[in-house]
Amino acid sequence: MSGIVGYGAHVPRNRIKTEEIARQWGKDPEVIRKGLLLEEKSVPGLDEDTITISVEAARDAVARAGIDPARIGAVYIGSESHPYAVKPSGTVLIDALGIGPEVHVADFEFACKAGSEAMFVALGLVESGRVEYAMGVGADTSQGAPNDALEFSASAGGAAYIFGKNDLLAEVVETYSFTSDTPDFWRREGAFYPRHGGRFTGEPAYFKHVLAATRAILDKTGMKPADFRYVVFHMPNGKFPLQAGKTLGFKKEQFDTGWVVNTMGNTYSGSSPTGLAAILDVADPGDMILMTSFGSGAGSDSFVFKATDLLPKRRGRAKTLRSMLDGPRRYLTYGEYAKYREKIIVND
């Protein structure tokens, strides 16, 4: 049996409230808060990017795993905001953590599913016996154009998972992937902000893929919604995952722990992986956990995990996701936010 031997998450300290963004554009914040269920979102600092977030999360993953980083044979970072178009993010991470040089590294992109994609491939390499340990990271400093609905959700954060075969914190019981050519959201080469098809991102994209992948993994495992203690779906906003869960017959209490979007925002590739981290922070041995990601373009990866006896013993070695969401925060004005997100053009 293969599974998670270490995990870690990171969310920057800066926040901006829904009211502040709405005020800037003359929108009614109540419509956003009630419609999309978004209160505030994280914002990266000027010196934070996908690489720094990945490194922070990966450090905590190594701490929880308690392994020599040099034994990690593969590192994959999934993101749609890799700082470089050409030059990998993962190479910085391995040097920062003392992994390699005998290591396979790649950067992944699949819109918001790149993180679970990295986890999926890392798991596969471990299961095959090709490497002893492999790391999959999902992290983003998400882009959302000014005055676009995405601006209320696009946030910063990520999570890292190390997979192995011994001393598991959570077993991987099953995986399933569901993919089709569905152009609901995209960003072209050289474009600063993504574009999207409005409501087309809903029913034919998010819901079709999340529901199909989840139904299939339930079928594959012979499990029912009631068999799970925790569920996390990709969280583009607060509403979509709850709506998908309701359709499938999950209850709100199964979502509560992993549903971190209302104060974190949508960390794109980091979204469902950070939600999973919040669940692992509190899960009891034997708890069954279901995760389904979604990436535009479009596809979903589903995982079924089972928490082990070792999980409660190891998680105290690093900070919890909740401690970052509820801990010290710094609230930005829209002007500061615009500066931090480099939306203001200044002379060199």
Partner: protein, 382 residues
Amino acid sequence: MREVAIVAAGMTNFGELWQSSLRRMFVDAASEALEAAGVKKVDSIYIGNMSAGQFVGQEHLGPLMAGELGQAGAAAARVESACASGGVALRTAFMDVASGMSDLVLATGVEKMTDGADVTAVLASAADQELEAYYGITFPGLYAMIARAHMQKYGTTEEDLAWVSVKNHRHGAMNPKAQFGREVTLEQVMKSTPVSEPLRLLHCSPVSDGAAAVLLCPLDQAHKYTDRPVQIIGTGLATSSIALADRSDMTYLDAVQLSAVRAYEMAGVGPADLDVAEVHDCFAIAEICCIEALGLVEKGKGGAAARDGLTALGGKIPVNTSGGLKSKGHPVGATGIAQTIEIFEQLRGDCGKRQVEGAKVGLTQNMGGSGASSATHLFRRV
């Protein structure tokens, strides 16, 4: 001139039809009409379409659609008058049959608006490019100016505008083909996002895909195809200045009035004879102005009509029983034909819960731009 009847109709649902292309929607609607009448071949096809060229890069719809429908060789052409394209296609089909040139003619409309084009910019190409669009004005802005002028001149209120939306959504909730077939409250309309003040989101018709088709033939041949034909008893087409600023009275849609007078005179009926009407409520203020120009209410009194229930189902003259453009949806080129289908079905008694009991005479009014072109048609149960 021969007397002309509608003998069959076909229509897609209106909405964001992501699974259906322009041609697919056309074929779905047109073949439904042909099958209803048991017709294999038609003489000609008129396709009301505002801007497939800009929306999906497809011009030359005549041969394309004739071929897709299995009617290759038929006389077929696109008819364009912005959002009145469907109404003008119906008039063209009517003239083709009435003149004796053709016996079986499809009048259709189709628009595919959700394929990624900048819809506001495409629609703005129906305004005056030199006098209006160049300065950045869009249709919500033009109709907002009409609304402001109406408010100032006649004391019409934002709540009057909102009642139009409440009424049309109430009607649309009974129409299974409507894009937004659900009721809205006055409060929801009044609190919806401002688009161009005083117009809010729920005062504005949506962006839609859809197609509609009706089959016309000489009245004396109609019983070959149906036992319940509906006669087209009047048609009027009129124009006004394309730029709103060039009109003497911004609150009065003179092209609508002129198109109605022409249709009334041809039919020998007046506003008092109508049992049901479909009018062009692309924005709530448009319905108010149209019912005034059509003579359904006195000039300046349109504001109170929806609020007082005059134009609701059960009122003196039910307007937009289909839900109107607001609730049913507004795939611009298809709208004029969809209005025709609502009246066709009302006069045949096929409208179910939204049926106007005993309806004998109906009207459709379909306009382009800020009211620069208008097609009015009158129908009678045979």
